[in-house]
């Protein structure tokens, strides 16, 4: 499920960023098979070139013995060697023990950097600002969603202490992670120009510390929340009705029935679980550099599936250098992070200022009975039935 979701998102992302076009292979007879001016111009124009004529042209060390004209390297000339290094095909041995130590040249860095500083910052920023703007607009039009009926003065226990603990472990850490993550991404563009390099350096080091270490609290909270609430978040037929009337959020006095969690909350729950896990996994991949590469394999599976080809993207690269794995992990981590932050902004709004009586559920765990009747009528019935049963058994 998570894989399929990741796959879908990767495809959408690539579809958006793909500007390269396929061009027919030029005639290279004039250069004896080497690059032509057309190749160079096409590359400068950011067009996609089939580079196999260079990638595969790396000589053959096994061919010809070392006394032949090509000299000590056997059937491999210097240009062959450079091409082999350039395309990470050379058999390199180094003293450095790191997994990336024997990649002497990799060319994904500029593309990654440009994407990170360009579209990622721009669209990510607009996504968050747009979400906040829409919520502001919603507040102006709809105002705070009030408890419509007469308050009863009685309360029902909605969440036990352990549930609230897990929610706030996850919520508190997520907010810290979101803020420090955004700071590391936007700092260079927005903070350095205003406060200078020195102040940002301190902020960046602190952000990094918080981001790296607080992530564990988020993962623990996420796991707890999953196990505690998963059963109540399985979709059921009431959800269709709930969605059909927009959850009653848009109009006063409309209250579709719902059990413990309504369809809107289920969307929040599953977004948090699926996107949160994906962010966790890509985050771990970033935290332990080169230890958990996962993109080449995912791309290979997607290629087998035919998904990228279906979208006209051709095959995704199924062989990646360790550095490129890290580049993809960073972009994925940030993109999914932006999406979840936007969703959580909506959640925080509706759980606090947006709806009267909602915060208590996570504050002290007790909600006003009338609130519960309006938003979770079937759940109230269940709770009442259980209480009545407990009472009769107690009397007996």
């Amino acid at each position: 499920m998570i894989r399929a979701f990741i796959a879908g998102l990767v495809i959408c992302l690539l579809a958006l960023s793909a500007r390269a076009q396929d061009v027919p292979a030029p005639d290279r007879s004039a250069t004896g098979g080497a690059q032509t001016l057309a190749d160079i111009l096409a590359r400068q124009d950011a067009q996609k070139i089939d580079d196999r004529f260079r990638r595969d042209n790396i000589g053959d060390p096994a061919a010809g013995d070392t006394t032949q004209p090509l000299g000590t390297r056997g059937g491999q000339s210097d240009p062959d060697l450079w091409r082999a290094l350039r395309y990470d095909e050379a058999d390199v041995t180094t003293q450095s023990r790191g997994p990336a130590g024997d990649v002497l040249i990799q060319d994904g860095g500029m593309r990654w950097l440009k994407f990170r500083q360009g579209p990622l910052v721009t669209y990510g920023g607009y996504l968050l600002l747009g979400t906040i703007g829409l919520l502001g607009l919603f507040y102006l039009i709809r105002g705070r969603i009030r408890i419509d009926g007469e308050k009863t003065g009685r309360t029902i226990t909605r969440f036990k202490a352990i549930e609230r603990f897990a929610h706030w472990l996850m919520g508190g850490s997520f907010i810290l992670l979101a803020l420090t993550g955004l700071l590391s991404l936007f700092g260079r563009k927005f903070i350095i120009p205003v406060f200078g390099h020195d102040s940002f350096a301190i902020l960046a080091v602190a952000s990094k510390w918080v981001h790296n270490n607080v992530s564990w609290a988020f993962m623990i909270g996420l796991t707890m929340v999953f196990f505690m609430w998963v059963l109540e978040n399985i979709p059921n037929r009431h959800d269709l009705k709930w969605v059909a009337v927009g959850g009653g959020l848009l109009k006063k006095g409309v209250h579709p029935p719902a059990k413990k969690f309504n369809a809107g909350q289920k969307v929040i729950f599953w977004s948090v679980i699926l996107l949160g896990s994906s962010i966790s996994v890509s985050g771990l991949s970033l935290l332990f550099p080169f230890e958990l590469p996962m993109f080449a394999k995912t791309f290979a599976h997607l290629n087998e599936f035919g998904l990228p080809q279906f979208f006209g993207l051709g095959e995704l690269p199924a062989v990646l250098t360790p550095q490129e794995e890290m580049q993809y992990a960073q972009l994925w981590h940030a993109i999914v992070g932006f999406i979840l932050i936007a969703i959580i902004i909506v959640h925080i709004y509706i759980g606090s200022v947006g709806m009267e009586g909602a915060f208590d559920a996570m504050g002290n765990g007790e909600v006003e009975e009338q609130w519960a009747r309006e938003h979770h009528s079937l759940w109230v019935d269940e709770v009442k039935a259980k209480q009545a049963k407990a009472q009769t058994t107690a009397v007996e």
Binding site: Q95, S96, R97, G98, P99, A100, G101, A161, R164, F165, A166, H167, W168, L169, G171, G172, S173, L176, W209, V210, N212, N213, V214, S215, W216, A217, I220, G221, L287, F288, P289, F290, E291, M362, G363, N364, G365
Partner: protein, 42 residues
């Protein structure tokens, strides 16, 4: 509300434990990619 504050304290507590734990296993890019023949900046 008490539970909420407790959870926020736990966030900090877990972070501090993670910090020392991660250093014990040598997780950083510098540490995990260097051989013993390489001197790291102190």
């Amino acid at each position: 509300m008490k539970t909420m504050l407790l959870a926020f304290c736990a966030v900090i507590g877990i972070a501090v434990i993670a910090y020392f734990g991660l250093h014990a296993v040598g997780f950083g890019a510098a540490e995990s990619t260097a051989s013993t023949a390489v001197r790291l900046p102190d």
